[in-house]
């Protein structure tokens, strides 16, 4: 087990390294336009250009630049750890920009995750137990809608209905929890619901399928044959088998969201990582794009490891070698 984790952490390190290399090449080497010019303001003099080039090391060979980039990530730069350098646009350190926004994204993701797990799993179970009955058909109709409806459209429609038509909820924007809890929740409830919708629909279908499959297994027949109540047969034997695989998928979905729920954040005007990415792409703010990419990939790789370890506890057949 210990060996396994060590090996997997080494892989995480390796993956992050590869990703930094790839992003570095994509964003610094391949794009048209010179980062020096981008950083030097609108009407740079040759002196300024030269100074910028020197200050950020653009005059050095590429491998030195990359080495510095990686070194800053792992050991920090003059602004602290991890070092992602300056934003071209705001002229402030990228790490501060990102740290300010991770919190918002995290709040959005956690809230939505709680909603979609509760809603998705319960719908899935109810559906499976009432297979081919009206409840099941309705639930699967909802799931189809949820999976196929585009987030931005649902988000805009929700805003229109709850905000503009019925004034039930305040509009877009973000109020920190520490500032005003009531305002925080009333501002977050719509983004949570909208973000959770497609996931809940997907999870409902998955849980339904898994549970139906599990209920057809021989060990369910054994559980019945030994005289367990139907509640135990389904609630214990059936669910345990059908929910275990959900853990993996949940871990990956959740870690992907931590890289930024781009559409939801845009629609509801939430200052999260996703919004930052969109903004930075529009402004060609390379250091920010790079930093968010690295962070998002780190979330995914680490979460994959966490999921694999948890899975080992949930499924005794998984062996770590």
């Amino acid at each position: 087990m210990g060996r396994y984790i060590v090996r997997r952490l080494l892989y995480v390190f390796l993956v992050v390294l590869v990703i930094t290399l790839a992003t570095f090449l994509i964003f610094f080497v391949m794009p048209p336009g010179d980062p020096v010019t981008a950083f030097s303001g609108r009407t740079p003099t040759p002196q300024i250009l030269h100074a910028v080039e020197k200050q950020f090391g653009f005059d050095k060979p590429l491998y030195v630049q990359y080495g510095k980039f990686v070194k800053n990530i792992f050991f920090g730069d003059e602004f602290g750890w991890p070092g992602f350098g300056y934003s071209y646009v705001t002229r402030s350190p990228v790490r501060e920009e990102i740290f300010g926004r991770i919190g918002v994204t995290l709040q959005l993701a956690v809230g939505a995750a709680i909603m979609w797990v509760i809603v998705g799993v319960s719908i899935g179970i109810v559906s499976a137990l009432n297979r081919r009955k009206l409840v099941d058909r309705a639930a699967m109709g909802f799931a189809l809608f949820g999976v196929s409806a585009p987030t931005f459209a649902v988000g805009l429609a929700a805003l229109y209905i709850f905000w503009q038509q019925f004034h039930l909820l305040p509009g877009t924007g973000y109020i920190p929890l520490s500032e005003n809890a009531g305002e925080f929740f009333s501002h977050m409830i719509l983004p949570w619901s909208v973000l959770a919708l497609s996931f809940a629909a997907f999870y409902a279908r998955m849980v339904r399928g898994n549970l139906l499959e599990a209920l057809g297994e021989d060990y369910i027949r054994t559980a019945r044959a030994k005289g367990l109540s139907e509640k135990k047969v389904i609630g214990k034997h059936g669910l345990r088998a059908s929910l275990t695989p959900i853990v993996t998928i949940f871990g990956l979905d959740f870690s992907l969201l931590l890289g930024g729920a781009v559409l939801t954040e845009r629609v509801f005007n939430l200052p999260g990582l996703g919004a930052l990415v969109v903004q930075s792409v529009a402004r060609s703010d390379l250091p920010v794009i790079l930093a968010t990419t690295v962070i998002a990939s780190l979330f995914v790789t680490v979460m994959t490891l966490v999921v694999d370890i948890i899975y080992g506890f949930l499924d005794p057949r998984v062996r770590y070698t």
Partner: protein, 340 residues
């Protein structure tokens, strides 16, 4: 006089499928007495498994139409409420299945699964349940039960899993053990161990055993009574000696001739021609007639009833007992000639 534990009367199980009605079981009657092993033998699709699963209502009743009676110590299992039935399952009437790996929950420890069976009936504390589980693991011959108690199913070998299943079935000293192809998935030497165990259990606990198998050898080995099934109906029921010494149905003859014997070589097998019928379109008359070499005038019209035509045990074939005895004697004679 032995006590009748289970009496099945004219059981029919028809499944509604998009392709039509599958007549999986179409009129089965038999009795099981305390202290005897009833072997039910037939090929896949003969309805032998469905018969047993229906007895415990372990089939999907939503798609099935069930008629007839399954009387267990006088009570009709098909008419009990779910809760009444639950109280019988695993307590008075237990079942083990073909594939012991698929039948144990892969995510729970074997010990915990047997504990659960103990605690499903009556008031057992956790410690008492564990004690009972260990007792049974030991009784079915699992070495180092305390250690094995904590193992997961995948850490058990096939034979051990089947032993664990038997232990689970026996926790409440049931009256009847239904074993659905209990040795099919196992190796020959392990099969011998499990059959030995089932026999021992039957003796020690003085219960009735229903053994479902496609393997005539297994039936011949451990059963006192044999029922041969074809296309959802019994074609012959009798004691083991009656059925194997003087089988009275051409299908039974066909089965016996199809099996390569271990003790002699060279004899050409005489297979039954054709394939078993679709259970949706069971042939008119005797279901076996299209494959029967001895069919004659009424076979494709009238379905023969299961009854004693004077041959000593009930069978379902239009041929007279004299004809059947003659045909069987001819077969025996030609076999002896081939062997010498």
């Amino acid at each position: 006089m032995a006590e009748t534990l289970l009496e099945v009367k004219d059981l029919k199980v028809h499944f509604n499928t998009p392709d039509g009605v599958v007549k999986a079981v179409d009129g089965v009657s038999f009795t099981l007495e305390r202290g005897e092993t009833l072997g039910i033998v037939g090929e896949s699709g003969s309805g032998k498994s469905v018969t047993c699963l229906t007895a415990l209502r372990l089939i999907n009743l939503e798609t099935a139409e069930v008629s007839g009676q399954v009387l267990f110590k006088g009570r009709d299992l098909l008419k009990l409420s779910n809760e009444e039935l639950r109280k019988i399952r695993g307590k008075e009437l237990s079942m083990i299945f073909q594939d012991p790996f698929a039948c144990l929950h892969p995510l729970y420890r074997v010990g915990a699964q047997i504990d659960e069976a103990v605690r499903a009936h009556g008031d057992f504390s956790k410690a008492d349940a564990k004690k009972r589980t260990l007792e049974l693991l030991k009784a079915v011959g699992i070495p180092r039960p305390e250690e094995r108690y904590r193992d997961y199913p995948h850490q058990y070998s096939g034979g051990m899993r089947q032993r664990a299943m038997i232990a689970m079935a026996l926790v409440h000293n049931p009256d009847v053990l239904i074993a659905d192809e209990p040795t099919t998935a196992l190796d020959v030497t392990v099969q011998a161990q499990i059959l030995e165990l089932i026999e021992k259990v039957k003796e020690d606990f003085n219960i009735g055993v229903m053994l479902i198998t496609h393997d005539l050898g297994v039936v011949a080995d451990v059963s006192q009574k044999v029922m041969v099934m074809y296309a959802g109906r019994p074609v012959e029921i009798g004691t083991r000696d009656e059925v194997f010494a003087q089988p009275l149905h051409p299908y039974t003859w066909g089965l016996l001739d199809s099996i390569p014997a271990v003790d002699q070589k060279g004899k050409r097998l005489i297979p039954i021609t054709g394939s078993p019928p679709s259970m949706i379109r069971v042939p008119q008359g005797c279901a076996f007639h299209p494959r029967c070499p001895h069919r004659f005038e009424p076979c494709d019209k009238e379905r023969p009833d299961l009854m004693d035509r004077g041959g000593g045990h009930p069978e379902a074939c239009h041929l007279t007992v004299e004809e059947k005895k003659k045909l069987w004697a001819q077969r025996e004679a030609s076999r002896t000639r081939a062997a010498s």
